[in-house]
Structure formats: C-alpha cells, structure tokens
Subunit: 240 residues, 2 copies
DNA sequence: CCAAAAGTGTTGCTATTACACCCATGG
DNA sequence: CCATGGGTGTAATAGCAACACTTTTGG
C-alpha cells in the first residue's frame, strides 16, 4: 500500500469557543458571507497548514482571526468525517472546544456571541448578545449544530469531575462561592442549592487542591463573602 | 481563503480492537514488516478513501483486513495530528475503539492478541497470547502506545455509566452474573465483590432495561445460576 | 432596624462496601 | 455429605439534597 495511492481530503479545525457572559453560557459564531450557507451562522474554523498540528491550527485561529492575546484552554472534541458535510468538497474537520473567561474577551466585529438555552432535546436555542438574532442549533451551517450539541454534552459531563469550570474564570482572579456557583449553573444548565454549594462543593475544590482561600473578603450588600483563587493545574479528581 | 491553498495531509484511521479473552482484557496488534518501526508491533490501520467516512474506513478495515464477518461496536477515540508522528510524511490519524466478543473472533495469522496488564502509571504491560512476546505499550510503533493508554482510560471511564460492557458479549448470548462479573473485572482492571455485583449491579442493568432474565439456569459445579441476555440498544444511564 | 447575602447545622435518603449466611448442585 | 459456587440479608459508611438557622454587612 503505497503512500501516494489515495487522494487526500481537506482537513480543517472548527472551534467551539465557550464563555459565560452575564451568568449565561455563550458560544462564539460567525456569519458566513460566502456560499455555502451564506448568511447563516457557523463556527470559526481554518485549514490545517502543513507545518502545524490541529492544536497549532486552533492556536493560530485564536491569535490571528479571533485576536485573543492570551493562551486559553483548548481540548479536542471529536472529528467529523461524513462524506457530504461540506457540499463543495470532501472536508474532514477536527472540532475543538475552547473556553475563554468573560474578562479576557475581545470585541471583534465579526465575532457574534450567542447565549445558549435548551429548547427541546438535542436542539439548543441561541440568542444573540448584540442584535436581536435568534436561532436554533439545527439552523447552523454545515454540521455545526450537531457539533455544538455534542460539545455541550461533553462540557456538562466533565463539569463535576474535572477542573474545566475554572477555565471560565480568569487566572489569579478572586471569586466568591456565589460567583463560582453562577458559572457552574450557567454551564451545567441547572440550579444547585446555594448552601450545599458553599459547604460541600467549595470544600471539595479546596481539599483537591484546586482552589484556596485568599483570606480577604468581598464587599457590598449583605454579609461579606470569603474569596478564593484557582491554584490547580490540569487535574481530574473524584474516581480513584 | 481558497480551497486549494494548502497541501493536504494524509488521513488514516487506526483501530484499537479490544476483547476479553480468558477473562483478561486484550488488544489486537500487528507486527510491522516494513519501515518505519519494522519488526515492532502497531495498531491495524488504513487510509481513508475518497468515498468513505472515517467510520467507513474502519468497517472496511474490519471486513477486509481483519476478516471479521459481523458488525461490531465501534466508537471514535480521538484524532492525532502531531507533525512528526509518522517519520515519513505528515499523517493525521483518527483513532477508533472497537470491541469484539471473544466468541466472534477470527483467527488470522497476522492478528496478534496481547493481554493487557498495568505495570506503572501510563504504561501497560502486553503479553502475547500465542507466542511468548512481551512488551510495554511505550514500545509500540508510531504514537500507538499513547493511543492505547488513552483508549484504556476511556473504556474504564465509560464502563460504569454506559453499556459498553455488553459489547464484549455476543448478542443474544446467555450469561450468568459471574460471567458478566469476569468481563467487568477484566475491563475495569479491578476486583468487585461477588455478592454486591449480583445483587446491585445486575439489578441496575435490569431496571435500566439493558438485560433481562431468561428464566433458565446454568448447569455445572455448584448451585445453578440465573442466566440473562442483553436487550438494550445504545443507552446511557446513571446521571440524569 | 431590616433586608440581603453568606456561612453553617440538621435531617433524611440513597448508594456503596464489607461481610455473613443459607441454598442448590455435582462428585 | 461436602466442597463449590450462587443468591440474598445485614450493618456501617459516605455522599447528596432539602431546608432551617445564624451571622454580618449596607442602607
């Protein structure tokens, strides 16, 4: 089986860039100005160059196209290789999940952030932050709606036994239990009891070395809250 | 950005074919008869053709190269796109996990099955079934040792909240709680209490509709055991 | 003083674990 | 009749969820 026997497919990366904006989970989309799917929204993506890996292509995408200065958390979702997922040509796409803290977001004209809310099973309602655009995940270009659904399941599945929650928060930033709970609820898409969160969840994070108390307290209406910072690296906990 | 701008990489699929043989988890490897990595073991794989998806390529690999007649369970692991993972050329590989029941295995001269046992962290000891070859996962060709480690973590992570356990068992086959426990222990790589397994685990499988009692009983030494069959389709349970 | 927000305590329920006991068969 | 293997019972424990109560601030 010689190496030159088959015609090579195009290989791209597509990025599912998530953030929590105003206590809601949001995804970054771009409006397509070319066919196919002209006028529809889709995920930002780029071709993989000869001299870079998939991760490398994502980093280039983040730096050049999305103009995000700092390194953010990126992990591979999965690869989509169906034959006609791009009507023009045979294109294989490696999908990546990226997470950017709200405070590190940069305002780029063609970056549209959409708040994610569930409608029915396997279909998400997307509401634009800036204009009044509303759409369903099934209305995204290519197979990007499918990607978004899978990505969201992955995020929610990992939130309780990995540290991805903290990728939504700026490094070295102080936060209270309430702050963290708000982020948690946005990502998980469900409410969790306030008291239990501070008592158990926060203590779990502490005892696994992911966060630590700063000693300082928050100010504002009501009783001051303890503040914490994220200290952990890449850690899985729970399950021995 | 035109579609023809970049040189396209080679894209292949690699298959991590698992089975439980004699109550031990096993992986299918082939001995390389060409450079690079000549004489070393590696995963079976193939190029993706123009007219097939990644899954399609895996099915062709299973049917043609591995001569497995029946459909087996296949799921995508992840894609490996590092620049020099193949010393000859830039090759991107989509790795898939396959699971074949012991009874459906076919004896092919160049299919070598290796029993998997843990040695130290992130390195697995592989012992050949037929000859006396022993090796470590770190000694596999390409980045296949890394793939194997990741795949095993995935299998073990999914065993408690998906139905992959039953993919190791022939469909419509009767099995006892002990049979299933043996498979479970082989995959999970740990012992579980016998009484608890029959009482709780089996009942969980029943109440989630994955298995049902046949009514018949096993024969042999000791008290006859209830027998079950797998009835479920693709189901995730636990976690609402 | 009071509303708001935060910390902590109590309780009940469920799942997990370890272990023990008795049951049914083959040799 | 007894060793082997299978089903089921019990008790201790850990974790989770719901809720109540107390504490500390700003207005």
């Amino acid at each position: 089986m010689g190496l030159l026997e088959y015609r090579h497919p195009y290989v791209t990366v597509d990025l599912l860039l998530f953030s929590v904006i105003d206590n809601s989970l949001a995804i970054c989309l771009t409006k397509r100005d070319e066919e196919p799917f002209k006028g529809m929204y889709s995920l930002p993506g780029t071709f993989i160059h000869e001299d870079e890996s998939g991760e490398g292509a994502v980093e280039r995408l983040l730096a050049d196209k999305l103009q995000i200065p700092k390194q953010i958390y990126v992990e591979q979702l999965q690869t989509f290789s169906d034959l006609y997922r791009d009507p023009r040509e045979r294109v294989i796409s490696i999908a990546y999940i990226g997470i950017i803290p709200e405070k590190e977001m940069v305002d780029i004209s063609w970056m549209h952030w959409f708040i994610i809310s569930n409608s029915n099973v396997d279909c998400l309602k997307l509401t634009s932050l800036n204009d009044e655009d509303k759409l369903l995940s099934s209305e995204l270009g290519f197979d990007h709606g499918k990607m978004l659904n899978i990505a969201l399941n992955r995020l929610r599945g990992k939130i309780d036994y990995t540290d991805i929650l903290f990728k939504f928060i700026q490094e070295k930033q102080c936060f209270t239990a309430s702050d963290l709970r708000n982020v948690y609820q946005a990502v998980a898409g469900k409410e969790v009891n306030r008291g239990n969160f501070t008592k158990y969840q926060m203590n779990t994070y502490i005892s696994t070395g992911l966060i630590k108390k700063t000693g300082t307290q928050s100010v504002g209406r009501g009783r001051p809250a303890d503040t914490y910072t994220y200290t952990g690296g890449e850690k899985l906990w729970i399950r021995s």
